[in-house]
Symmetry: C5
Subunit: 355 residues, 5 copies
Amino acid sequence: MSTHNKKRSRKTGLPPGTMVHIGEKKGDAVKISVIDYSEAEFKELVTHDAEACFPFRESPTVTWINVDGISRIDVLERLGACYNLHPLVMEDIVNSNQRPKKEDYGDYLYIVLRMLVYSEQKKEIVSEQVSIVLGRNFVISFQEGLEGDAFNPIRERLRNSKGITRKMGADYLAYSLLDAIVDNYFNILETIGERIELLEDELVGNPTKKTLTDLHNLKSDVIFLRKSIWPVRDVIGSLERRESPLITDAVILYLRDLYDHAVQIIDTIETFRDMLSSMLDIYLSSISNRTNEAMKVLTVIATIFMPLTFIVGVYGMNFKHMPELEWKWAYPAVWLVMIFTGGSMYLYFKRRKWF
Amino acid sequence: MSTHNKKRSRKTGLPPGTMVHIGEKKGDAVKISVIDYSEAEFKELVTHDAEACFPFRESPTVTWINVDGISRIDVLERLGACYNLHPLVMEDIVNSNQRPKKEDYGDYLYIVLRMLVYSEQKKEIVSEQVSIVLGRNFVISFQEGLEGDAFNPIRERLRNSKGITRKMGADYLAYSLLDAIVDNYFNILETIGERIELLEDELVGNPTKKTLTDLHNLKSDVIFLRKSIWPVRDVIGSLERRESPLITDAVILYLRDLYDHAVQIIDTIETFRDMLSSMLDIYLSSISNRTNEAMKVLTVIATIFMPLTFIVGVYGMNFKHMPELEWKWAYPAVWLVMIFTGGSMYLYFKRRKWF
Amino acid sequence: MSTHNKKRSRKTGLPPGTMVHIGEKKGDAVKISVIDYSEAEFKELVTHDAEACFPFRESPTVTWINVDGISRIDVLERLGACYNLHPLVMEDIVNSNQRPKKEDYGDYLYIVLRMLVYSEQKKEIVSEQVSIVLGRNFVISFQEGLEGDAFNPIRERLRNSKGITRKMGADYLAYSLLDAIVDNYFNILETIGERIELLEDELVGNPTKKTLTDLHNLKSDVIFLRKSIWPVRDVIGSLERRESPLITDAVILYLRDLYDHAVQIIDTIETFRDMLSSMLDIYLSSISNRTNEAMKVLTVIATIFMPLTFIVGVYGMNFKHMPELEWKWAYPAVWLVMIFTGGSMYLYFKRRKWF
Amino acid sequence: MSTHNKKRSRKTGLPPGTMVHIGEKKGDAVKISVIDYSEAEFKELVTHDAEACFPFRESPTVTWINVDGISRIDVLERLGACYNLHPLVMEDIVNSNQRPKKEDYGDYLYIVLRMLVYSEQKKEIVSEQVSIVLGRNFVISFQEGLEGDAFNPIRERLRNSKGITRKMGADYLAYSLLDAIVDNYFNILETIGERIELLEDELVGNPTKKTLTDLHNLKSDVIFLRKSIWPVRDVIGSLERRESPLITDAVILYLRDLYDHAVQIIDTIETFRDMLSSMLDIYLSSISNRTNEAMKVLTVIATIFMPLTFIVGVYGMNFKHMPELEWKWAYPAVWLVMIFTGGSMYLYFKRRKWF
Amino acid sequence: MSTHNKKRSRKTGLPPGTMVHIGEKKGDAVKISVIDYSEAEFKELVTHDAEACFPFRESPTVTWINVDGISRIDVLERLGACYNLHPLVMEDIVNSNQRPKKEDYGDYLYIVLRMLVYSEQKKEIVSEQVSIVLGRNFVISFQEGLEGDAFNPIRERLRNSKGITRKMGADYLAYSLLDAIVDNYFNILETIGERIELLEDELVGNPTKKTLTDLHNLKSDVIFLRKSIWPVRDVIGSLERRESPLITDAVILYLRDLYDHAVQIIDTIETFRDMLSSMLDIYLSSISNRTNEAMKVLTVIATIFMPLTFIVGVYGMNFKHMPELEWKWAYPAVWLVMIFTGGSMYLYFKRRKWF
């Protein structure tokens, strides 16, 4: 859980529209990479300065500004001012706690999603907020600076003019970014699916205390995933409903495909939830089962040996007048009685299928 | 679970519209069987080559192209190109992980469903993705190549001119395919219904650890079924709502009937879910019950024999000065005390109905 | 459960519209009873032959044809042909597995419901499918031939001209049939309500293994009821929404009343579900409680007698050099020690309120 | 539960619109109290006869007829005939099993609600059905004759001309009656809230078998409340939506307020349901916890004393050749061994925090 | 729970629109603070008297009247009369039990919310009802007088002319108040999130009885939060839907932002609910696990030592004719037998992984 909650209290009492960076600091510097392209042309630029992006503002070609790192509020502010972004948008970009959403500001669309990556080192899901601003001929994307970048394949395709991205407008680029993010969700689901399968085997085989802890962690992860991904469907759904002139017809079909992916992901998450709930019930039943087995062993042992111990105790008494003690066949007789008692107990439990 | 999850990660980073076969390989070869018919004519053809289908493209009769096996991407690509299928459609066809859906591309409808079969050998549900493309006078169906083919009865009927299929258009053929798939779901439900009944008898009779494992497997199966079948209702529902000119009025009535079947299947699945949840609770209660019974036996035995063993222990002590040891009637007296103690314990538990 | 599931697999692979009787055979013969009436006239006829009904086809009076037994497919087919019933309707009539539904075929409405009766002999709910076809001036009802007939009071009223049925049209007759079926649901609910109350008393008093089995059976029954009755609300709701010209305004008010009954029944079923879930939880808690009590008794007995048995064991040892054995007051001293030990244990548990 | 279910089976088979009193008989006599008022005039009358109400039928002033007791069907029938009430309305009035509902008969509205009172004597919730018929200038209310009358404050206000009731029309009077009923729900909720708080303290402190029974009863009560009150929201909501000309604009605002109360009541009931579910889980955990504690005590005692008892048993054996028995320091040595064994067991459990 | 329920019964029987203060008394005095501002002007006033507010009624500038304490009904009545507030509004203001809601009275909007604060002293969530009346150029807010005031930062901003509040109308002020309240919810959620994390660690580490109590309290808190906050979303949503002319376009954007916050808060609450449910299951499983472990220890000990104690008991018997007692190697032989018996038991359990 620890990484899933972020302090927002720091903002209480400030006027709306104030930019305060909320969230884990994932990097100090701001890295701005600009790609400007049309079918024929291609320009690429990496800078740390907002001002370097200003010239592209008026270019007729498609401009993609990717901002990596959101802690340098001054840089972001100048960039936002240049592209006329609303203070509330700027506030949401630096507050890395947003629920996935889409907002239509007329001249541009503001989209927030969460990029999820399963970190092999930390053995947990790490996440960053990705904000995408889609204007007539530009896309600005803001990342928190998580290591690894799901947008690299898109950059490659743009450079090599592979795929149709270079032929399409800014809306297709925005779609590509969304697609890259959603594709990553499938990877997360696969990892979780594998962890669930492993746990299932353990559950059936030999459930331990660790199984329970793993189940709980897995469930927390799925709850977190659900919270992060559930609203994505509505975001993409509302894009696909042709509500904004910024989305052209050619891209609608692709968005519909993306929407299907989102629905499929949510289906899978719900299935995981179902399975984990069921597994917790199985776990409890399984433990009860084992307690029951131990209980039966104990009961059988006690039921057989307690009467026997009592019998030998009787003839261990030191009374002067105990006629049996003198009898010649007393000792073998007692053995016979004990074997009969123990044996009949044993058969009784055997017949009741206690072991 | 193992067969229900498929690797999709292989696709991450590729541009949209790239055909990559995702899913278990269920066969290497592609088998294309073409049936071209009208009320009067009937032609049948089996080939491994996409080109053989091209001549039927322009025929006024209804053409049904059934493609068995989706791993030969080149063949599929040529077929798709001939019938002008959108790259996203081709991508979905080979990605055998689709959620059931219907998409309207104007000239044709693209429908994806999942064929489910209970494999008697593997003792589990096997499934394949079936894609159906319905055009004005053609139907193309894509199967993954699962053994056994639910479409054979339809082929028979076409050959023998039984039923009304030969008199109707391509939309009725598409309906027949959907009907064949949905009919198979009933068989799956029957199998599951029988397994549930068997488990219920076991639950009431003699629940074991295996019962629990069976319950869990059954629950996983139902969760998987639910995920696969639930969207089918909407798919058929949207077909039946006369939204596309490709569906004629004559077929609407049949689709409505099919829709009822889908609703009935979903009802049954929900009922199964309910019953399985309830059975898991019963199982847990049942185990607790048995632990309770063992517990009571143990408690009764211990409560009766522990005091008795203590008493005989007392007179097993070796003190020099123990006046009772010398008394003549001490031994029978001790027996009387013990019989009374044990008997009253026994009666006490009997009265409290502990056994 | 056993009677709630029916084999449908027999139909797989047949063309749509094929009449195959699916369901338990509840009788061999077909009994057709025809009642033809207007306010002034009344004719009654019982036959085994479809042809006997044909003359009534054109009569201006209201004709009610009640068919008892659906296994003689040939008879039904001829009847259906006479009244122009669609093959899909005929298929649904003989397939006694339908989900309650209403279908509008323009000239007539087709309504399917499930008649539920609690069989005192079998101690379970038995059910049959009732199909009602409502035309302009005729009603055809199909029953599976369950013993006892809920429609008898309606026949009586028609014969005696009691109530307003004779004055109203075919739609009122159809409403009367529906009302008779829904009224029977209330009886089922009462039976179940009584069984729940009995179980509640047992639960609080002395829960046994049988209580659990009863709970499970009751829950299965309620799940089955829910599945059978839930869609009835929508069926009646859609009739009441004046969508068909076959339903006159005079009958709408009665249908609204019937709709209220359906809603009330569903409310009650949901309440039963809630109560049974809660009762299963109570049962589990109750068993845990009793295990806990047995546990405490065992713990108290063991904690008191194990140390005492140890002490007497010590002085049962046969060492040569055990000075205590020679002491004069050793024996009473040991008794004092044991009484003190046992007593303080007893008081300790008493104070912790363990018994 | 016992008072919450009523026999309806008596009605099966009767034609619709037949008045049969269903429900507990809460009183034999019918008491009819008539209040006729305008801002200036006020007349009051108590009678046992329907005929006494007829003169008020045509008066221009507002007439409120309150009927206490619904078992005298003849009286009700004459009253209904005078005011042109539909047979289905009359049937619903005497069938005290109705789900809360509102029906618009054009000339009048028929509203059914359930009055709930917590009876201090019976320690349970008692209820009666209240039917309200609102016409242009009259209100007829039917009660089952439960002791205590929530409408008395309204009568007082009318007599004393307090509040604005005298200045308003029949719709405001009907609103006042509804308000009186809904206000009573708050009292029920308070009683239940208090019982929940008491149980919570018990749950945390010392849960017993009675706690479980109380929890179950409370849950049954909440389930019953929910069933009775849930539809009230829709009833009031549909009144407030200005659908009938009988409701004037001046009263809409008051109905909106009442609607808010209904929503708030349902919110609280849902919260109670949530809390009770949670409490049942807590109870089960709590019992498991205590079993666990007893288990640990038992295990500690057994683990310490069983080995010791074994050791003393060894030296209680009567073998001729047991060298240790002759050793001088054997007895103290055994004691040392036993103290060490017991002590280390004790320390082991202490360290594992078992007590 | 104790602070979450308030007595409403005191109101039963009173006519609608009667002002009765319901709720805990949080302070006796009424403190009225008036702020009147435009972009240029700023006036501030603190009084205990309603009359002091009257002059501001007609001022063209924005007037904010904040009333702290709602027990002095006479003062509130005069204030309400001056601003033409409807009696039902006045009733709701003093009845501090309202569900969050928005009501449109044409000239003004009436909004009720609940301010929630986590009291560090009481270790629980304390709450007060905040009523906001938004007119054309005035805002009246009513607080119950909880210590600490979330509105202070707004006052500061108005005084210092920070932010844009001074430039905007009364609707922006109302928005600011709502924003301040909703921002506080985030703080509450953080506190709860931290408590959940603490409990999670305990759950995995060493669950005790206190863990259970804490879990229950946390769950009660979340249920209470949910009830208080859930309707807030609809309140803000209906404000944002431009239904009232009192809300200007400039403020809509801010309300949309606020709406997102509300949705995010509800999401988080639902996530908490999920996690707590899951944690209760984990707790139960965890306790069962530990019982199971204790059970196994007990069973192992008993299974090893009961047979041994029986064996030594046998040779403690005092029969005259027990040949073994005379044998020379009998004693060591018995030891061998016992070591073998105990050892094989030990190995058996070791192999079955019981410890």
